[in-house]
């Protein structure tokens, strides 16, 4: 406890930073006439791709004809053949080729989707799978991050992440390589 007290005392004793009000905002930030179009452009700029369809099975089968171990927690999709929720240990997820998961809402300004693993037991599913398809209702596109954070809360324990495209890196001579440690490809499918 003593380090905590020492640190807090060091802050209180000498703090010269002047009192400043926290800013507040309402209806702030860029908006878009066609949110899907902007979302789609942004997602492609970060290596992902957005589609609109209600025929999940056929669309995904066409995109990923060779993927073997598939997890799906999306209704209207029958491609799942591996029950991630039955695994006690996230290490058991290591051979998943494709996960098909539900997104909460999309953000047009940056191509991100808010994911809050409500239906998957392991948060690692989003990262350990070799490929990811996020399914989301087309009515759930917001303009910007201010709108997004209005819809998020963490009253309970948990995990949530904004995912924008597949994992990537440009650490070798600034060359963009899609597929670093997380999924090597990523699609977002909007359903009507």
């Amino acid at each position: 406890m003593s380090s905590k007290n020492d640190i807090l005392k060091a802050i209180k004793d000498n703090n010269l930073v002047k009192q400043t009000e926290l800013p507040n905002w309402n209806d702030f930030g860029i908006t878009f006439e066609n949110k899907f179009e902007h979302f789609s452009t942004m997602l492609e700029s970060v290596g992902g791709k957005a589609l609109i369809t209600n025929d999940l099975d056929n669309t995904i089968k066409e995109l990923y004809p060779d993927e073997k171990v598939i997890v799906s927690n999306v209704e209207n999709c029958s491609l799942g053949n591996f029950d991630e929720n039955a695994c006690d240990d996230p290490h058991e997820l290591k051979d998943i080729d494709l996960c098909i998961v539900k997104g909460e809402f999309a953000v047009a300004e940056n191509g991100a989707i808010w994911m809050k693993n409500a239906d998957n037991r392991h948060r690692s599913l989003y990262f350990i799978s070799q490929n990811i398809v996020i399914v989301i209702s087309k009515s759930e596109i917001l303009n910007n991050m201010h709108e997004a954070y209005e819809k998020i809360s963490f009253e309970d324990k948990g995990f949530g992440t904004f995912i924008s495209g597949p994992s990537k890196t440009a650490d070798i001579e600034q060359s963009l390589v899609i597929g670093a440690h997380g999924p090597k490809s990523g699609y977002v499918i909007f359903t009507d």
């Binding site: 380090s3 004793d13 000498n14 926290l22 800013p23 905002w25 930030g29 949530g160 060359s175 440690h181």
Partner: protein
């Protein structure tokens, strides 16, 4: 001790590589400009970020206690460390209690600052840096040269050689995709066999008691969601009051850093994984004195985007390693000089005072003013060295004697053009080492000014 002029001289000796480095960083700066200009409210966002940070710092003790209370309620254990040693001891204790032999680590400049890797390695724990750039420099036994782009100083041929030696890739194959895939395969094995993951923290939310980590590669998420033990290390300045404050920072961070609209992953950790443990270590390590400093307090508002480095004409041409401090560039120069002026006395001079860093800083930190102030402080602390001190005193004396100053100027304008080069470019003329003197004008500014005033009358 850091010695920027000496180390920078080594870097610029390779002219081709220096220009290549300069261009690589400028390319990132240009991407930042495009991204920032895509938002009409960009300047408002910067002001909001500055306000939020300043507000938080003014009540930092309150927000840190709020954070601890709310994190504890979420089942996270919070630790406090006064300095680097205490931080490292806490990490080791946590790892040792779980018999951890391998730790996967994602980007954390704080653990670089604390020299955590060697501390753990001498105690028998293998530490794997998992960010690709950090892995590259770790295998080469080098520190990162940039806080966001750790291997920006290296060419793909360098990476190819390093991976050939350590990961067994084909000799001479320098295709970035091939090299990245090789690192992916090797690191995936590490993620699956490590018993603990350590991450840095981009933001800690007082209101909700969770931390946010932003990465493109997904390495922090793998490390924090596969092994049972997750440790997050944070400098005490990382706390923000409200969850909604993140809407401001997540819009600024990636756009300022690399010109991306957002990082691939912006993960909010508010609990350990099922059956696991999560620990957060709040570290001071000479941060609290900034709050007591009128001139340097804003340095704590930094969100570590690296924009000040990408734009800095000195950084771009001297490389991150020339600074000899854990964080290079303008922000590192002011942090380092404030923390230890004697050790880092050359860093505030690694600056042309152009102010570009201040103009791009998403938190509007007064970086150029801070670097300028450091120079005065170094003089007061008698750290400038005899050559600089004596010549500055002589110049000050001359400039406070106007008649003499005019006379000396007149003599110099007449005599200097007649002198042989060897006499002008001697060892006392440090400025002239790499520069030619401009041609001497016929008249001084004062004379021209007087004539101009006379013309107007």
């Amino acid at each position: 001790m850091s010695n920027h002029p000496k180390e920078a001289a080594k870097f610029v000796a390779n002219d081709e590589r220096m220009h290549w480095h300069d261009k690589a960083l400028w390319f990132v700066r240009e991407k930042r400009d495009l991204a920032s200009k895509s938002l009409p409210e960009w300047e408002e966002l910067r002001s909001m970020a500055s306000q939020i940070k300043t507000h938080t710092m003014s009540k930092l003790d309150y927000y840190l206690e709020e954070f601890e209370k709310n994190a504890t309620a979420k089942g996270i254990t919070v630790h406090w460390a006064k300095d680097a040693t205490e931080h490292n001891e806490i990490v080791y204790k946590l790892l040792n209690a779980k018999k951890v032999t391998k730790l996967v680590k994602s980007k954390s400049m704080l653990t670089e600052e604390c020299h955590l890797n060697p501390y753990l390695e001498t105690r028998g724990i293998e530490v794997i840096d998992t960010d690709l750039g950090e892995r590259i420099v770790q295998l080469r036994n080098e520190p990162p040269s940039h806080i966001v782009l750790p291997a920006i100083h290296l060419k793909k041929s360098d990476v190819s050689d390093t991976f050939h030696e350590h990961l067994g890739t084909e000799k001479g194959n320098d295709d970035p995709t091939y090299l990245t895939r090789a690192a992916r395969a090797s690191l995936r094995e590490d993620f699956l066999t490590a018993q603990a993951g350590l991450t840095g923290v981009n933001f800690a939310i007082a209101e909700t008691g969770g931390v946010v980590v932003c990465t493109n590669e997904g390495n922090a998420d793998m490390g924090a969601s596969v092994p049972k033990l997750h440790i997050a290390s944070m400098g005490l300045e990382k706390v923000v009051p409200r969850l909604k404050d993140l809407s401001v920072f997540t819009r600024l961070l990636a756009r300022s850093a690399t010109g991306q609209p957002i990082t691939s992953y912006t993960s909010h950790f508010h609990a350990p994984i099922e059956g696991g443990e999560m620990h957060i270590i709040i570290v001071d390590n000479k941060r609290t004195p900034f709050l007591a400093s009128k001139d340097y307090q804003q340095a704590l508002n930094c969100i570590r985007c690296g924009a000040c480095m990408n734009t800095c004409p000195v950084y771009r041409r001297s490389g991150g390693h020339s600074y000899g401090y854990v964080i290079p560039g303008p922000i590192g120069s002011t942090l380092g000089t404030f923390k230890d002026a004697a050790e880092n006395k050359t860093l505030s001079f690694a600056c042309t005072l152009c102010g570009s860093c201040t103009n791009v800083c998403p938190a509007k930190i007064d970086l150029d003013s801070q670097l300028y102030n450091h120079r005065q402080n170094l003089n007061e602390l008698n750290l400038l060295g005899a050559k600089k001190t004596v010549s500055m005193r002589a110049a000050a004396w001359l400039m406070t004697h106007p008649t003499l100053f005019s006379l000396v100027g007149k003599i110099a304008r007449t005599i200097v053009p007649m002198l042989p080069k060897a006499m002008i470019y001697n060892r006392f003329n440090v400025w002239g080492k790499t520069r030619d003197l401009p041609p001497m004008p016929k008249k001084s500014f004062k004379e021209l000014y007087k004539e101009g005033v006379a013309d107007e009358l």
